[in-house]
């Protein structure tokens, strides 16, 4: 038997190239191409009064200088709104080059094309733009206040407002024996892949066609966007995502201004043009995420069981909404995690600010939702004086309640129905892994040594494998080489390896005969893209289905050649053979020859094939419904998303003097159904956890009130090094998804999702101070300590008579007065 590859810790086929400098990222391609640079706005909100390019034209090597006025009709209007939604009543998107009004620092105003980047930047420096400054709107409070407007025709800066409700949450809360309110805040962060964006475009004048290499998470959609913008037939545009140096969400946004502009310039000039984003550009002209203010109102019983949950939050969507309101919709729905909320009401307002656009960053709204829910769980436990685990347990959806329908609409517009998961089992695993029951002894021991430690837990459920579809093409060559292509893209997840494992198993061929291509529209034209932890679910199952088709075809052809019933055949190690009689076999390579009635004997397989006769001489060589070639295409399109889940526990130590925060242990239990390659899944979790810890302790975008981004470099934006990321301990639970043939659920984003929540919980446990804002720096913790001392601990009383954290969480009073909305 061929060794089953699914489930094996197979080493990556990508690595040898990448380890020897043979990777090909977009800036590695097209040496000698003209290079573009952009004049970008130094202001957050302004009007362009005048542009003087005279100085730039004198620079040797400048080929072209473009403003909005120079663009053709397809590029003159605003860029597309990718994902409309009825609640997004005031969508606004940017122009590729600023037309008149600038809405964030870094918006592109002019594009210069020159012989190289040095020269292009020289020219940019000599261009004089005159601005009329407008009052900038920065931060959610300013946006919500609505005194100044980002877009003059959008009242209150409100892009979207959405309410979803199941039951009557407010009445349920009012009638509950206990009530709490919390005000929470999460700051902006960003995907920050080490390779920024980049585009390289070649126009072929002889063929009237365009080839574009882009560092994107969706080459098929970039292709469609470029064809539309440049008014080219789709068949004349090809887009390739070469090696991509990380994405984490930011590269799913498309088309970026630079993508359409560079492609257009290449066509306009008839010469190859490239643009490679530099790090400052990535900070001020790509996308951010995470920024939200939240207000939670919850009613519960004596056991901490949720009776009603009412969440209101304000989401900062930046200057434009090209990617719609996916992020806040995810927050609103995924906030519920593994719990039954009782009656649930969620209301969000998505607000414009004069800052960089907000599009999904790994986790995509979930980290904020989990932060709200898990902070609420801990507040309930503190209020009731019961164990934090007990509160979670009593609210869990039980395994026998699956599939569980939350009666809400998810990000894909389909019902939010959990397909699988065993939350009590996951909890038991994570408690065992971290040693929850032994922690109090450890805390006492630490206290004796003058050390302050705390433990936290956070749970999440993640909708993964969002549709509508992905497809795959599997082709067996006459050499026996198996080519697999899928349209979605890779940014380092190891898709080539993981998808090859699936193809090898389904087809019965050795792994090293399988070659996978992703993200190349020349090889596969229909795809959605890589986001929402969807590759293993969507393309994984598509590859399995396509390989299954090829297997069936191979058995049918081999059956004719060997004169046996195809159902008596199996494919093992690349040979189609009679079950129980391995001697009666025929190599897949030979079957590939037989599959094509045109047989010039180019190779050994073709020569061997002459001994077999297939095909009915009374019919045509290619029968109705058949195609030549041993290949097959199929698509996987699920009824709805599949839901992975996990639970994290962390132990932190806070320095009693300096308020430094150190993560001592970080434990993960993760359920993504069938593990195709545990090595790769663990790698995904590791990276996610690092971003989660970063979001909890280090990373934030610091805008000043003028809309200047004060920390737009790696010197000031604190991405963690090896010294900042704790050791990650992992255990898996595998509850296969019943929704897809492989039983897989997504894994890409999981690690980051509960990061802020679990670190906040552990710090709160160590300090005894409510932690309501993320990230938290040592100086902020120090400040919290001193303000706690000033207040000398709160003694707010709830109407049920118990002392509680209520006022300490900054929430509204029981009389319903407005909360202190920061």
């Amino acid at each position: 038997m061929t060794t089953r590859m699914i489930g094996e810790r197979v080493l990556r086929s990508e690595d040898a190239r990448l380890l020897t400098g043979q990777g090909r990222y977009v800036d590695d391609i097209g040496n000698g191409a003209l290079e573009a640079a952009f004049v970008r706005s130094p202001h957050a909100h302004a009007r362009v009064v005048d542009i003087d390019v005279t100085g730039a034209l004198d620079v040797d090597g400048v080929v072209a200088v473009y403003t909005h006025e120079d663009l053709p009709p397809g590029l003159a209007g605003p860029l597309p709104l990718l994902i409309p939604h009825p609640a997004l009543t005031q969508p606004r998107t940017a122009h590729p080059l600023v037309r008149d009004e600038i809405n964030h620092l870094g918006e592109a105003i002019l594009m210069v094309v020159a012989t190289d980047r040095y020269v292009a930047e020289d020219a940019c420096d000599r261009i004089v733009v005159t601005y009329e400054q407008l009052p900038p709107v920065v931060g959610i409070p300013a946006a919500r206040d609505g005194g100044d407007l980002v877009h003059p025709d959008v009242p209150g800066n409100i892009a979207a407002h959405l309410v979803q409700e199941v039951g009557d949450a407010r009445t349920a809360i009012a009638a509950a024996p206990h009530r709490l309110e919390l005000d929470l805040a999460v700051e902006r962060s960003a995907s920050m892949p080490l390779e920024g964006r980049g585009v390289h475009a070649r126009w072929d004048a002889d063929d009237d066609s365009l080839r574009v290499y882009s560092s994107t998470q969706t080459s098929t959609s970039v292709r469609a966007a470029l064809a539309a913008a440049l008014e080219l037939p789709l068949g004349k545009v090809e887009v390739i995502a070469p090696d991509v140096g990380g994405g984490f969400g930011v590269k799913i946004m498309h088309p970026w201004p630079e993508e359409v502009l560079v492609a257009w310039a290449a066509r306009n000039l008839g010469l190859p043009v490239k643009w490679t984003e530099d790090r400052r550009e990535h900070f001020i002209a790509s996308a951010h995420e995470r920024g939200q203010l939240q207000h939670v109102s919850v009613g519960f019983d004596d056991d901490g069981r949720l009776l009603g949950l009412d969440v209101t939050f304000w989401h900062d969507n930046g200057a434009y909404t090209p990617y719609g309101i996916i992020v806040p919709i995810i927050t609103a729905t995924q906030l519920l995690g593994p719990y039954k909320p009782g009656a649930y009401r969620v209301e969000f307002t998505s607000l414009y600010t004069n800052t960089v656009i907000v599009t999904p960053y790994r986790g995509a709204g979930r980290p904020q939702g989990v932060f709200a829910m898990e902070r609420t769980m801990d507040a309930i436990a503190a209020h009731l004086g019961i164990d934090r685990v007990a509160v979670r347990t009593v609210n869990f959806i039980q395994p026998d309640e699956m599939p569980y329908d939350h009666q809400l609409l998810f990000q894909d517009g389909r019902p939010l129905i959990y397909d699988s998961g065993d939350f009590p089992a996951s909890l038991a695993k994570v408690l065992a892994l971290v040693g929850w029951d032994d922690f109090e002894a450890y805390r006492r021991e630490a206290r004796v040594q003058g050390r302050r430690v705390g433990i936290g837990i956070a749970c999440y459920v993640e909708g993964t494998g969002v549709g509508p579809y992905e497809g795959a093409h599997v082709h067996v060559e006459t050499t026996g080489r198996v080519n697999v292509a899928t349209g979605l893209t890779s940014q380092g997840q190891g898709h080539q390896t993981m998808l090859a494992q699936i193809a090898a198993d389904e087809l019965g061929v050795p792994l090293d005969r399988v070659f996978v291509t992703t993200g190349d529209t020349r090889r596969f034209g229909y795809a959605v893209g890589t986001f929402a932890s969807r590759t293993a679910v969507m393309s994984g199952n598509a590859v399995a289905l396509a390989a299954g088709k090829v297997r069936a075809k191979a058995k049918r052809i081999a059956g004719e050649a060997l004169e046996v019933d195809p159902s008596d055949l199996e494919i093992v190690d690349g040979n189609v053979r009679v079950k129980g009689d391995p001697a009666a076999s025929i190599p897949l390579a030979t079957v590939a020859v037989l599959s094509n009635p045109l047989r010039y004997a180019f190779d050994l397989a073709s020569q061997q094939a002459t001994q077999f006769a297939v095909g009915d001489m009374t019919g045509p060589p290619v029968r109705a419904g058949e195609e030549p070639g041993l290949e097959g295409t199929d698509y996987y399109s699920p009824i709805r998303s599949t839901f992975a889940n996990g639970m994290h526990a962390a132990v932190v130590e806070t320095d009693p003097d300096t308020a430094e925060i150190r993560v001592l242990r970080y434990c993960v239990v993760h359920d993504c159904g069938t593990l195709v390659n545990p090595l790769l899944v663990e790698g995904q979790i590791h990276g996610g956890v690092a971003q989660g810890v970063a979001g909890a302790l280090y990373e934030r975008m610091v805008y000043d009130e003028a809309g200047q981004l004060l920390n737009a470099s790696f010197m000031d934006f604190l991405m963690p090094y090896a010294t900042e990321v704790p050791r990650v301990e992992i255990d898996h639970l595998e509850t296969p998804s019943p929704l897809n043939p492989l039983g897989v659920k997504g894994a890409g984003e999981a690690g980051v999702i509960p990061g802020m929540a679990v670190i906040a919980a552990a710090i709160e446990d160590a300090e005894g101070i409510p932690i309501t804002r993320m990230p938290i720096s040592p100086s902020e913790l120090y400040e919290l300590r001193t303000s706690e001392d000033r207040e000398n601990a709160p003694v707010a009383r709830c109407d049920d008579g118990a002392s509680c954290h209520r006022s300490r969480y900054g929430g509204a009073g029981e009389d319903g007065s407005d909360a202190d909305q920061r």
Partner: protein, 175 residues
């Protein structure tokens, strides 16, 4: 010649010894070494992640010691020996222990930061053949990775040290 006499467009003929091969090249005075390596010499394994010396993707070995090639001007290293990630493999392209360890321990994902880690680890292990985990963490703490959370990079460097000791392979790049 004073600094003010230097035109940014003035070109200089320099000679670099890159991965053991003499490479004459003409560069302008302002040409970054990283750009020279990537675009003039065509060795695109050296990556540029920030161009301000923080991320470490562009780390190469200059006379055996790790440096940020984005912080150096090409003219300033005239006559010196450079080792890039391409030179960290065997002449036939097969993997040396550091690279082998990164593969076996899944020490890379997108691969963009990887060349900087490979060169840094190569230089570190040449000096520290039997490092502790803490020493490894310190050694790589000048390089950013956004994919791996460093877990498997640390394991890779530990594993590479063991591989080098076991096989007694000449993983050390001779300057």
């Amino acid at each position: 010649m004073t600094a003010s006499d230097v035109s940014p467009d003035a070109t200089y003929d320099i000679l670099l010894r890159v991965n053991g091969v003499p490479r004459p090249v003409s560069v302008t005075s302002r040409r970054l070494l990283s750009d020279c390596i990537r675009h003039d010499l065509g060795l695109t394994g050296t990556h540029v992640g920030c161009e301000h010396g923080v991320c470490g993707c562009c780390t190469i070995l200059l006379d055996g010691a790790p440096v940020r090639s984005c912080l150096l001007l090409a003219v300033s290293v005239d006559g010196q020996d450079l080792t890039t990630v391409e030179g960290c493999a065997n002449p036939d392209g097969s993997l040396r222990p550091v690279q082998q360890a990164f593969r076996e321990c899944h020490g890379l994902q997108c691969g963009f930061c990887t060349p900087g880690f490979v060169t840094t680890a190569t230089a570190f292990l040449a000096q520290h053949p039997d490092p502790t985990r803490a020493e490894v963490v310190a050694a790589i703490s000048g390089n950013l990775c956004r994919c791996t959370g460093y877990q498997n990079i640390i394991s890779s460097v530990m594993c590479a040290a063991e591989l080098i000791r076991q096989t007694d392979t000449d993983a050390v790049i001779e300057p």
